[in-house]
């Protein structure tokens, strides 16, 4: 059973990363490499922090889009923060949508910004779902009591 769960976790991680779906990039591996015996849940803690931060930042952006029409500088500043947060864990697809939004800001394109922001939200939701499943699988597999990536 444990081996099967490891396999499932491996497959899920592969889907996220190795199969070029691009949800996560090399930075996620860098974060995993920072996990050690002294910080056995480091990866999950960072990911949890990411979703807490990104939720707040997206809420700020949503409010700014409504309260400050055509304030591209403000919109861009908020999205830059969110993009930086995405970079921290290697959330590459979400980061790319953040960059599209910023491009639209630079062009003064309101509709482009709105479209991009919807995509940012979608990518955020999908990534959250995938990572939650991933960590749940790892916990169930009981990887030495910590949520660590199975060795590929």
């Amino acid at each position: 059973m444990k081996k099967s769960l490891f396999d499932q976790a491996s497959i899920l991680f592969s889907g996220l990363f190795f199969l070029s779906t691009g949800y996560l990039d090399e930075q996620f591996c860098q974060v995993e490499d920072l996990q050690d015996e002294a910080s056995p849940n480091f990866v999950e803690e960072v990911v949890t922090l990411f979703f807490k931060d990104s939720g707040r930042l997206m809420s700020n952006i949503e409010q700014a889009l409504e309260k400050y029409p055509r304030d591209f500088n403000r919109w861009d500043a908020y999205m830059q923060q969110l993009k930086g947060s995405c970079s921290s864990i290697g959330a590459s697809r979400m980061k790319n949508e953040c960059m599209s939004f910023r491009d639209s800001c630079g062009q003064g394109n309101v509709e482009g910004c709105m479209r991009s922001f919807q995509k940012v939200k979608r990518e955020h939701a999908v990534l959250r779902q995938k990572l939650e499943s991933y960590f749940q699988l790892l916990r169930q597999a009981g990887s030495a009591g910590a949520a660590t990536r199975p060795v590929m």
Binding site: Q30, S39, Q81
Partner: protein
């Protein structure tokens, strides 16, 4: 082999960046390092001032650009105005030449892109002979 202990000031308003940088610094061989954190430029300037007053200056400052209250450019300028020569490395996701130039003009010694990693920190520590 662990290197000598150093005092580092990490300046970034985003907690996730500070968490990752903290772990990256530890992984770069500095388990015993003193790592202080500041969530904006104004706090950073005060931390540097306090460290100098305590005769325990920082060996390295890692400075984010965009922060509330006081940004990284202004904080760097004020630290230099105090006569502090501690290496300041700007850390930003915007690696545009104009951005880098602005930081160097403000008094930063180097620039690296976000996010920080064990490898990037290793390069920085080696460059400033903190290994």
């Amino acid at each position: 082999m662990a290197r000598k202990m150093i005092r580092v000031l990490l300046v970034d308003d985003e907690e996730i960046n500070r968490v990752v940088a903290r772990a990256a610094l530890k992984a770069a061989g500095g388990g015993g390092d003193v790592l202080d954190e500041a969530e904006n430029g104004a706090v950073a300037v005060q931390r540097v001032r306090d460290a100098v007053a305590a005769a325990a200056p920082y060996d390295l400052v890692l400075m984010d650009k965009q922060m509330p209250v006081m940004d990284g450019h202004e904080a760097t300028r004020r630290i230099r105005d105090m006569g502090v020569t501690t290496p300041i490395v700007a850390v930003s996701s915007d690696g545009l030449p104009a951005d880098v130039e602005a930081f160097i003009t403000a008094g930063a010694d180097d620039f690296t892109s976000k996010p920080l990693s064990k490898e990037k920190l290793g390069i920085i520590l080696a460059k400033f002979r903190l290994t």
